[in-house]
Symmetry: C2
Subunit: 213 residues, 2 copies
Amino acid sequence: MPRPRAANQATAAHLRLRREIVSGRLQQGSALGEPGLARRYGTSRAPIREALIALEREGLVRFEKTGRTRVRSFSGSEMREIMEARAAIEGMAARLANRLWTEEDTVALEKNIAAQERATDLAALSRLDIDLHHHVVTRGDNASLIRLWEPLRWQWEAHLVEIYRRQSGDDFVPEKETIRAHRHLLKALAEGTPAEASEAMMNHILFNLRWAR
Amino acid sequence: MPRPRAANQATAAHLRLRREIVSGRLQQGSALGEPGLARRYGTSRAPIREALIALEREGLVRFEKTGRTRVRSFSGSEMREIMEARAAIEGMAARLANRLWTEEDTVALEKNIAAQERATDLAALSRLDIDLHHHVVTRGDNASLIRLWEPLRWQWEAHLVEIYRRQSGDDFVPEKETIRAHRHLLKALAEGTPAEASEAMMNHILFNLRWAR
DNA sequence: ATCGGTAAAAGTGTCGACACTTTGAGAGCA
DNA sequence: TGCTCTCAAAGTGTCGACACTTTTACCGAT
C-alpha cells in the first residue's frame, strides 16, 4: 500500500476545500462540480470525490437528490440546532476537563480572555472565541467527543464568515456578556467544580442563540 | 446526474457492510480489502471505497497508517469515551424532547419497558434498549444532534455484539437497575421536567460504565 | 529446524473512459 | 416579446487499468 493516508491528494483536497469554505472564498450555495474542482486542483475526480464525501459528513456541503453538490447554507433553525449540539458536547467536555486541568490551562485562558477585551474587529474576536472553546474541548481528553465536536466547529465557523459578509463591522465593540460568561466558565474550571463548569458552558452557548438567527 | 444518491451502489455497500459489522458477521480486526469486497458485492472498487470512507467517519472501521482497512475494535477506555459522548448527546436530546412529547410517546416507552422486563436474552434486551434511546433522541427533533448520535449508536451496537460472543448468556436476567433508570427517565419525560429528564438520561448512561469495560 | 533473503502476490492511490441523466441554451412558433 | 420544445453541453456513477508499495510465501543457506 502507498503513502500514508494523511498525505494523499484526497486528504489534501479535503483540507483545501474546507479552508476555502470556512474562509468564505467559496460562497454558500456554490455548486461544486467534480470536473471543475479536479481541474483546479490538478488531479482526477477520484480524490475530489473522496474529499466531497468527507465534507458532506462534516456538514459543510450537501448532496442534492439530483446528485449535485453545493456548499451548505445554514438557516436560523439549523444554527439553533447546531448551537444546542455544541452545548451538549462542550458542556460535557467542560465537565471532563476538570480531571486534567492545570495552572497552565488557566493562564492560557486568562490570556485569551484578555485578548478578547482588546479585540477591535469581529473576525479577531471570533478566532479567539473558537480558540477558547477548542482549548476546553481538547482538555476534555475524550477522542469521541472531540471527533463529534469538529464538524460543529467548522459549521459554526462557516456560518460566522457568512455573518461577516453581511454586516460591515464598523461600530464594533466586544460584547460584555460574552466576556463575562467566559470569565465565569474559567472560574469554575480553575476552582475544579465540574457541574458548574458544565452549566456555565451550556448557558453561555445557548445564550448566544438570540443573535445566531 | 444519475439516480438519487441514496439508491446507488456506494450507499448499498455502506449499509450492507455496516449491517455485517454490527451483526457480528464481520469480526473485529478483520481486514477489509477493497478488491475482495468488490468481488463479494459484484461491483468495482469505487463504490466500496466510498462506503469505507463513510464507515471510517462512523467509527466502525479504521484506516491504518499503511493504508489497510480493518474492522475497529473497542478498548475499555474507548468505550468509556463513547458512553460519555452518548451521555452528552442523549442528555441534551432528553431535555429537548419535552417540547414535543406526547401521550403516544409515553405509551410507546411504557410498552418498551414492559417488554424489557419480559426479555429472556441479552440480545433482545439490547435491541429494546437501543430502541428506547433511539426514540428519545429522535424526539429531541434536532437534526444535528441526531446526526452526531448515529455513529455512537453503531459503535455501541458493534461493541455489544462482541460482548455476546464472549459470554454465553445462559444465566440471564434483566438488570433491575436498568429498568428502574428507564422508568425514572420516562417519568421525567411524561411529567415535563426537562432538567430532570436530562439528568436521568445522563446518569443512566454513565452508570453503565461499570460493566461496559 | 531456523533464519534470512528474494520474488511473487495482493493491495492502495490515482487516472481516464463510458453510459446515462439532468441542465439549460437556443431555435421555432404563437 | 414570450413560451415550448429540442438538442447539445455538462455532470455523476461506475468501471477497468496502471504504477508503486507492502505483505507474504517460498527457497536456500547455515
